[in-house]
């Protein structure tokens, strides 16, 4: 249901504004609405203006803003830890934070810079090492000659290897040898061997062709390949150890100071929120005024809290909700026990307006019935009941899964109930094995009676919708609209009775007078609502006919179940038959969950709710403290 809201005005001395805002922020039950004051006569008074911070407050806000930014930067640089937020009192800690944050920021920035350098060095060493280690096996194929110059190159495209080899042979007069391999990360690399006299030509050729050579630190130049690899290993070990050392230092600092800085950041955030919130207040020379919304039931409690906290200086007064306020009243939905899980279905729609209805209780009443009417099978119902109990128990802490389980549970009970009425257990299996028979309709045969029943359900549902729409119009003080809806209701009823009397003539039901009634009311409706009135009537008839889907989808579900049983029986083998029937029934059950859900919802959202629900309400979003 839609919770009853109160429009309230809080008034007090100007110097208590921040403290009053803090109290409201802590209670988390009040939503300020500065636009309320703009609309009233009071705002035209020159003495009433939006609150502007004084010099001291501006200075304080600027100081806190600056501190907030420094603490945020520090927390971004410090490594994450799982330490809980510090329980220290915020305000006394703030001076210490202000003193220390710059020192810590400088230290952490420096360590972060060093760490970045070390990490880059580790990356480079790892790449070099992978390169030279991959080349090591190629070295075994080369003659041991001190006159030999070895160059490592990276080859971008494997298809160009042949052309590269020919080019280098040409530039060095055939005095080089190239062999290739791939590194552990998949890059293609090559080892070019030549004599020291030709090395200059080779370097030039590689430069001309823009082929990257693997460069090494100068001190490695005279080392053999095995020595180079050992030296690179040693360098990598040192760089990695340096990284670890700096990371440990940063982590230690983080363990020690992060909880304190997080506490400070939360406090600063709240404080700055309060300064921003002052923009929602209006002030005179001496007083402040805040208007907004809160739950009606919470008003007395907040009145007492304000009175105690400010010794009666700040007062809360409840104001009347005017007709022009109705579209602005924020909406909060809250439903008791049985209906609460059905909010997962009503949340698919935008919020209703305050003067409209909460669709949740109506969904709670009708959705499971429609679901049961469509699926209507004892076997499927029992399986769904087991699934729903599992969902509700196993996922109890997870609200969504638990709610789905509860809704499915209620729907499955109705499925079992209608299954008894239709005499269905896995289609016609109950009739064949257990002698079950239909107490009401045999859906496989009684197509027309079932269609008439579905349409009757539609008539009742739609007429209820029109009645609720008329009542909502009365609540909004729009009697003309309410009367039109009432006329529509009578015309629909008379039209349906006329069709019934034509199809099934009864001595007590004459078509003539019914049509005369329609003929009298239609011009009245056209005069009141224009040419849209007949269209609205046609639309309503279309809405009612749409309910025939209750029969149609149910009928297709029965036929699928019967087909599953017949195919299972035709296989000639008990095991294969059971397997085939189980698979088809599982498929039918899957459809049997999806189709009734979607179509029962569609009947509500499109057909039923369009008759009375006014959507587009504002969500009630009170000020509240962010959980730390």
């Amino acid at each position: 249901m839609i919770i009853r809201m109160a429009k309230v005005e809080i008034v007090g001395p100007k110097q208590d504004l921040l403290a009053a805002l803090d109290l409201l922020h802590n209670r988390g039950i009040f939503q300020p609405d500065p636009q309320l004051l703009e609309r009233v006569e009071l705002a035209r008074d020159d003495r009433l203006n939006t609150h502007v911070l004084n010099e001291h407050e501006l200075h304080e806000r600027s100081y806190f803003q600056n501190l907030y930014e420094r603490v945020s930067t520090l927390l971004e640089l410090l490594p994450e830890t799982t330490d809980a937020i510090s329980p220290l009192q915020s305000l006394p800690v703030m001076d210490l934070v202000d003193e220390l944050v710059d020192q810590h920021l400088e230290k952490v920035r420096e360590q972060d810079r060093i760490l970045t350098d070390y990490r880059k060095e580790v990356e480079d060493q790892q790449r070099d090492l992978a390169f030279w280690q991959a080349l090591e096996p190629l070295l075994a194929d080369l003659p041991q000659d001190s006159n030999l110059e070895l160059l490592g190159i990276t080859i971008r495209d494997a298809r160009q290897l042949q052309a590269l080899e020919e080019l280098l042979q040409q530039r060095t007069g055939g005095r080089c040898h190239i062999s290739s391999t791939t590194t552990t990360d998949g890059a293609l690399i090559g080892l070019v061997a030549t004599d020291r006299q030709t090395a200059g030509n080779l370097h030039q050729a590689l430069t001309d062709e823009r082929i990257p050579e693997m460069s090494l630190p100068a001190e490695f130049a005279n080392l053999t390949l095995a020595e180079r690899i050992a030296a690179l290993h040693e360098r990598l070990k040192t760089a990695t150890a340096n990284c670890r050392r700096i990371e440990t230092q940063l982590l230690e600092l983080s363990h020690r100071w992060r909880p304190v800085y997080r506490r400070a950041l939360v406090w600063l955030e709240e404080r700055l929120t309060l300064y921003r919130a002052t923009a929602t207040a209006y002030t005179t020379r001496l007083c402040f005024i805040i208007q907004g919304w809160m739950e009606q039931a919470e008003v007395p409690g907040l009145q007492i809290d304000l009175s105690q906290a400010f010794a009666g200086r700040v007062v809360l007064e409840q104001l009347a909700i005017l007709e022009e306020d109705l579209d602005q009243v924020p909406v909060m939905l809250r439903n008791p026990g049985y209906f609460a899980p059905f909010e997962i279905l009503s949340r698919l729609l935008p919020l209703p307006k305050y003067s409209s209805y909460d669709p949740t209780p109506l969904l709670g009443l009708f959705f499971p019935v429609f679901f049961g009417m469509i699926l209507g099978d004892i076997g499927y119902g029992l399986i769904l009941l087991i699934i729903s109990v599992f969902l509700a128990k196993r996922f109890a802490p997870q609200q969504l899964a638990s709610d789905i389980g509860k809704v499915l549970g209620v729907a499955s009970l109705y499925t079992i109930f209608f299954g008894f009425l239709y005499g269905e257990l896995f289609g016609n299996l109950g009739e064949t094995w257990l002698g079950l028979h239909a107490y009401w309709f045999d859906r496989g045969k009684d197509i027309l009676p079932m269609a008439v029943f579905a349409l009757t359900v539609g008539v009742v549902h739609i007429l209820l919708g029109i009645t609720l729409g008329a009542l909502a119009d009365l609540r909004r003080h729009q009697p003309r609209k309410a009367l039109l809806k009432l006329a529509m209701l009578i015309v629909v009823l008379l039209s349906i009775l006329a069709v019934v009397s034509w199809l099934y003539p009864q001595s007590w039901l004459n078509t003539g007078p019914l049509l005369i009634g329609v003929a009298i009311l239609m011009p009245v409706m056209i005069a009141a609502e224009g040419l849209l009135a007949p269209l609205e009537l046609l639309k309503t008839m279309g809405n009612i006919i749409s309910y025939v889907r209750i029969m149609a989808i149910g009928f297709s579900s029965v036929l699928l179940a019967v087909v599953a049983n017949r195919l299972g029986g035709m296989s000639g083998s008990i095991m294969v038959g059971i397997l085939v029937a189980t698979m088809l029934h599982a498929f039918n059950l899957l459809l049997g969950v999806f189709a009734p859900t979607v179509h029962a919802l569609r009947l509500h959202y499109v057909e039923f709710f369009s008759k009375f629900l006014d959507l587009g309400g504002r969500r009630f979003e009170p000020w509240h403290k962010r959980p730390s």
């Binding site: 698919l348 027309l448 006919i545 025939v548 889907r549 149609a552 179509h599 959202y605 499109v606």
Partner: protein, 70 residues
């Protein structure tokens, strides 16, 4: 011969709305997929929107069943 015409009429009664529904659902489905890329919270609404044109094929199915059975 009459049975052939009855069967043909029933086939038309469900076949044509089925094509119309498929076409409408393909358009709504494509638009819905685009919407969901930006607003995943509209999943429920999109499912309902995709189901709306099914009215055509459902009514076609009812008419076809009545042609065959009455």
């Amino acid at each position: 011969m009459e049975k052939v015409w009855i069967a043909f009429a029933a086939a038309l009664a469900i076949g044509l709305p089925a094509i119309a529904t498929a076409w409408a659902q393909s358009r709504i489905g494509a638009a819905g997929a685009g919407t969901l890329a930006e607003k995943p919270e509209l999943t429920g609404v999109i499912i309902i929107l995709v189901a709306i044109p099914e009215t055509m094929v459902i009514l076609g199915f009812v008419v076809a069943a009545m042609i065959l059975l009455m």
